[in-house]
Symmetry: C2
Subunit: 83 residues, 2 copies
């Protein structure tokens, strides 16, 4: 069953409090040298049947409407992995 | 500044209520043919200086202790992107 991986990140101009919290915690825990952290989401979707161009077009639409909030997030990548 | 991308997913044996909610919503919104969805996290870390092996070893440790909860999550990938 092919797997489609969708990567969603907050838009660059959007504040990312989760990422900021991680960036602040890193040096406190002894991890130095990280200038900034941004946190997004990764979805793994198992597709029934084949990942045709038509299926991928549908998934691209789902990614930019359901899996991400287009006001504050970008779908930065959509990859097909055969499983 | 090199960017390190860390991918974190719930372990296969762990229930993933967020993923299940997305999987249930997809057909309701007209997106058919998705067998299952799992939702994880994607972190983008901007590294100061060069992404040497030493820096990456530190980041791998940070990824498996701070960026993920090793009881319920796996770090599935750690990639270096030059920016």
């Amino acid at each position: 069953m092919p797997r489609v991986v969708v990567h969603v990140m907050p838009k660059p101009e959007i504040l990312d409090p989760q990422g900021k919290a991680v960036a602040a915690a890193l040096p406190r825990l002894g991890f130095e040298g990280i200038a900034s952290v941004r946190q997004g989401k990764r979805f793994e979707l198992e597709v029934e049947g084949e990942a045709t161009e038509e299926v991928l077009a549908t998934l691209r639409e789902a990614a930019s409407t359901l899996l991400s909030n287009p006001v504050i997030e970008d779908v930065v990548a959509l990859e097909v992995e055969d499983a």
